[in-house]
Amino acid sequence: MTGQMKNVLDECLESVLAGRDTIDSCCSRYPQMEADLRPLLDVALMSHEALKTAMPDAASAAIREKIMAGTRRETSTTRRSIWSRIFDRHIFLRPIALGTGLIFLLSAGTALAATNADPDSFLYPLEQRLEGARTALTPQKLDKAQVEIAHANERLDETERMAGADKPEYIPELLTKFDSHVDSATGLAKEAVDEGEDAIQVEQGILSARERLDKVVADLNGRIPDELRDSVREAVEESDQDIPGQETESSFGGNQGSDYAPDIPGSSNGDIETHNGDSGGSGESHDSGSGGGSSEPSHQDPPASDPPHEDPPHKEPQHQETPKQNSQNSGERENIDSHNNGLHY
């Protein structure tokens, strides 16, 4: 009886919720069960009504606009939103759009404020995911690579801001993320070149990002506490390992392999050294859509957590220095310098 009741309840509920039946019509088909069936259907329909909770219009529109803006930004090939086209076509609607936008800005949830959130902000995970979405929705490989380069530069901006705000604990992770973005950009550019596209702008972007990394690291002088120096050095070295030249059959030109080697005070042997050309590559694959944040959840797997920005890794100082051998480095640099014409795939 209970088994039959479960099935009848389910059948009736589905047809009533879909509007194909009423509670009365359903109960009339199963008169022998009506005494049990009707109160359950009543409570189900009442629950159905009670659970309807509308998102405030302002919040809904603000989230929508934010997602759409995030997907449009930096994506020259993406078509414009229907709303912007409507407002462009009907100029008289623009003041309404502006006013409505202001209301959204004033009343929306915290999601709206995520743009430009710094790593020490609780909104930073959302910011990171927006970045991932931007990259994921950029259709062309070279455009995607440009987005990655922009994100890499944003990591450097954040590094500077964290250093300025005396929050160096965030810096190692930011530099690791920088590396991830540059690595993705390099991979995408290589794929694009393999497909016959001209990646010169991306190459230049990668080069200038790396040059900027050198400057940013040099400017960190005096701002990195002892206990974080090793972490920062590791992050920079990891980034350097991505310099193509071995397995990717590509290399950088410009001033890579120059004598410029910024160091961190206390690192007497110049232990935070950029572009040392360490061989072997990073050995890590970086998801271009991750934005350095969440991993890819499949249909089966739950989405991964946001990056643990609240608790940046604090690595214990390792005083047993394992300095990169200068001879080895110079050898790598020769390799790099020998390809002084930009990226070659």
Partner: protein, 191 residues
């Protein structure tokens, strides 16, 4: 064109990076996702942020979505469920502890007509009762009665068979009915 085919076309366009198609998907599901999240986390501000995160997740993953299993809605709500669980994990709380808070129960009651006021009061009692269901029962109630998912889709979201979903639904409705009857008896006593 059937709703399912329309949705399939929208998803196909969104997978190719068509942001307008994604916008239509957002418009179609945002209300249900928001309500589903809100009834679990309890505060509108958190629900808004999580809802935004859910659609960002969808944006990131839609390229890899394939029409297998119970379809797009199940895939979307599975992401939503995981994001809610992730929210609780970050807060160090179990979902059952804060489901259906006073913040939801204190939403304005419609009191324009006497009958409507009574219905609204019943709805508040029901919401409180849903908050007391087991987590599995709560999920089935939310996904079936709020998000209008089929048993198969609900099963996909909560990793249970269709038969198990039917059983959970049956037990949940019996519990809610008993709760309502007890509340009504209490009211009669007060009067």
């Amino acid at each position: 064109m059937s709703e399912q085919r329309k949705l399939a076309r929208l998803v196909k366009r969104a997978r190719k990076g068509d942001t307008e198609a994604f916008g239509e998907i957002y418009d179609r599901y945002q209300g249900e996702v928001y309500a589903y999240v809100l009834h679990q986390v309890g505060t509108p501000a958190d629900a808004e942020d999580i809802t935004a995160g859910v659609f960002l997740d969808v944006l990131e993953k839609i390229e890899g979505f394939t029409w297998q299993g119970a379809g797009f809605a199940a895939w979307l709500f599975r992401i939503a469920r995981n994001d809610v669980l992730d929210f609780f994990r970050r807060r160090g709380r179990k979902s059952r502890e804060i489901a259906l808070t006073d913040e939801i129960l204190d939403l304005p009651v419609r009191e324009t007509v006497e009958g409507q006021a009574e219905t609204a009061a019943d709805e508040r009692v029901l919401l409180a009762a849903i908050g007391k269901l087991s987590e599995d029962q709560q999920q089935v109630v939310l996904l079936k009665l709020l998000a209008n998912l089929s048993n198969r889709q609900v099963g996909e979201v909560v990793s249970k068979s269709e038969g198990a979903v039917k059983a959970l639904q049956h037990r949940a409705l019996i519990t809610l009915r008993k709760f309502m009857e007890e509340e009504r008896k209490k009211d009669q006593w007060k009067q």
